[in-house]
């Protein structure tokens, strides 16, 4: 159980900067998800926390102790790798045992921990199987068991679910979170899947190009994205982003006009599909478009529109809504839920006019 602090941590490979000066505090017992597209530096950061990579500059503290130069094993971390990597030539039992091989715990304690972990993850029937003889889900559970027997100070997971099929991921997600909460161990979970991030994380750290974009609870990340990048990366269906200009208290893009209170200049308007509605094609101050596709999600449907420039826009509608591809329509954002992003990609800290 540990509180982890990264202070001005930096990682370079030659001229390539993998992680730019990063400050990050991970609270004891929390489930932190590091989210970002591949190459954003999230795995490098994880590796530095694990001790697999050493930072080029900066320090890492576990519970206030400087562990920057401490080896992975000595940091007492546990890690689950991509595709739930296990030693392929060892049985599940020996794989789990190998976690405790280099500890000086008494044999009885080792046995106790193993039994406990195996019970917790329901691995009893496959203890003597080789990883290649098991399904992906079973392997994931075995890798988790291998990780928890160490009773680590922190639990690091590097896209453990990415190779699994959708249904399995769904069930394993809750299983993992449930386990982490029961154990109370700090966990850092790396993923590029925003749904995973939203559903699992106590907090989410969004990274992009080696920089930390935003860190916060899923609600904060979703509802108050700090930047255009975060806004675009999170949410399903994704947020509509419309480039335009602010002038005379209004955001304008083509025919579209939304009243805002902000300094004039180029900006991007963001509106989530549930905060937009379809309007008559002739109505003023809306964005004219044609229906491109209609996706039924059951509880609701998504209309995908295409504007004149070929940009796709999404609007949530009642499941009973009908439209034909090619129908003319217009998008009308709800001004009270619109967000504005400046030219630098950061969200403009301004209120929007609460007008009807």
């Amino acid at each position: 159980m540990a509180k982890i602090d990264l202070r001005r941590v930096e990682k370079r490979y030659g001229d390539y900067v993998a992680v730019e000066t990063l400050d990050l505090s991970i609270v004891d017992g929390e489930f932190l998800v590091m989210l970002g597209p591949s190459g954003c530096g999230k795995t490098t950061t994880l590796n530095m926390i694990a001790g697999l990579d050493y930072p080029s500059a900066g320090e890492i503290f576990f519970d206030g102790q400087d562990v920057t130069a401490v080896t992975p094993h000595a940091r007492n971390v546990a890690m689950v790798f991509q595709s739930s990597l296990l030693y392929p030539h060892l049985t599940v039992r020996r794989n789990i045992e190998s976690s405790l091989r280099h500890t000086d715990l008494p044999a009885s304690e080792k046995a106790r921990r193993i039994t406990e972990a195996v019970r917790m993850l329901e691995l009893e029937p496959m203890l003597d199987k080789l990883p290649s003889q098991m399904s992906g889900g079973q392997r994931q559970r075995a890798a988790t068991a291998k990780a928890i027997v160490r009773e680590p100070s922190v639990f690091l997971l590097d896209e453990p679910l990415s190779a699994l099929d959708a249904a399995l991921r769904l069930s394993l997600r809750s299983e993992l979170v449930n386990l982490q909460k029961r154990l109370g161990t700090t966990a850092v979970f790396v993923t590029h899947d925003q749904v995973e991030a939203m559903t699992m994380g106590d907090r989410i750290a969004v990274m992009s190009r080696g920089r930390l974009e935003q860190i916060g609870t899923p609600d904060e990340i979703y509802n108050q994205p700090a930047s255009l990048f975060v806004a675009a990366f999170l949410g399903s269906p994704p947020m509509n982003l419309i480039a335009g200009e602010i002038a005379e208290g209004c955001f304008r893009a083509g025919r579209l006009s939304v009243p805002v209170e902000a300094a004039p200049g180029p900006a991007t308007l963001g509106v989530r599909p549930q905060h937009a509605r379809l309007a008559d094609v002739a109505s003023a101050e809306t964005l004219p478009a044609t229906v491109y596709a209609l996706e039924h999600l059951g509880r609701e449907s998504v209309v995908i529109l295409e504007d004149e420039a070929g940009m796709k826009l999404r609007v949530l509608v009642e499941p009973s809504f009908h439209a034909r591809v090619g129908d003319k329509a217009a998008l009308a954002p709800d001004p009270s839920f619109c967000m504005l992003f400046g030219a630098d990609g950061l969200r403009l800290p301004v209120g929007l006019a609460r007008a009807a």
């Binding site: 795995t43 050493y54 080896t71 991509q82």
Partner: protein, 314 residues
Amino acid sequence: MASEPGLVRPAAPLDRQARTRRTRELSDGHFALLIGLPVIAFLIAVVGYPLIYSIWMSLHKIVFFGGYRATFAGLDNYASVLHDEQFWWSTWVTIRFTIESVLLTMVLGLLIALLLNRRLMLGGLIRTLIFLPWCVSLYGAGLMFAYLARSQTGLGTAILGLLGIDATTDFLSGSSIIEVLAIGNAWTMAPLVAMFILANLKTIPTRLYDLAAIDRLSAFETFRYVTLPPIRFSLFVFTSITTVLSMKLFDFIFVLSGGGPGTASATLTYQVYKRSFKELNLGLGSAMSFYLLFLIIGSTLLLFLLWGRKEKPL
């Protein structure tokens, strides 16, 4: 994400504190040095020394009779090799032998691998028997093929005799000796190639074959679109390897034909052996052996440029 370079090349200005705290773990480079250095040193001693000695010899005129003398001769030996008709003949023999050997080996290796990839009755036994040729030494194989191909003692004559035909099959003649050698060489090398291709084939998911069946691909199309792609790189690698092995082959030829009849099968290796060892013309022999080395390296480079560049390792 998979291929972040592992080597820590501390190019960036390191935080001094961090440097002093550097961990006790060995870096990749240090570990490689620790493991590799003794081995590389050994290889340099036992491969590098003879190589340099060879270069030295190739630049000297060495005489044994009336007292050992070595006089510097510059590139004379290299020049005289180029004027040696035997050298050009042997180069041609080597190339012909290599091309035939490699083609035959690759085709056979592929066939064997495809066959063994199927479920066979008595699979273990059949695999053992098919791998057996590779275990036979090259001199042993040389003797086998000598007795097998010779009209006096060979299978051809025996079969003709059994059919009551009084004739002989003279395969060890100037016109076909290289083919006999290539067949024998392929016989010993094909199992090795097959083994590695087979290991490759085993990684192709059966699903793909089911898919091919659903798509009603013909046997040839299945081979071309399902089987071939994952083994292409191996095919390239083994084409290179068998090229090298064929070009440097000596004992098999020495035992089977002794370079004959006449000089019909005198490959470059045989020519080098003859010049250096039998005639003690060490300078000329060494110079010739370097031409051989260039030929070997040149052929593999050519293969790489024409083919290997386009292939991706799995």
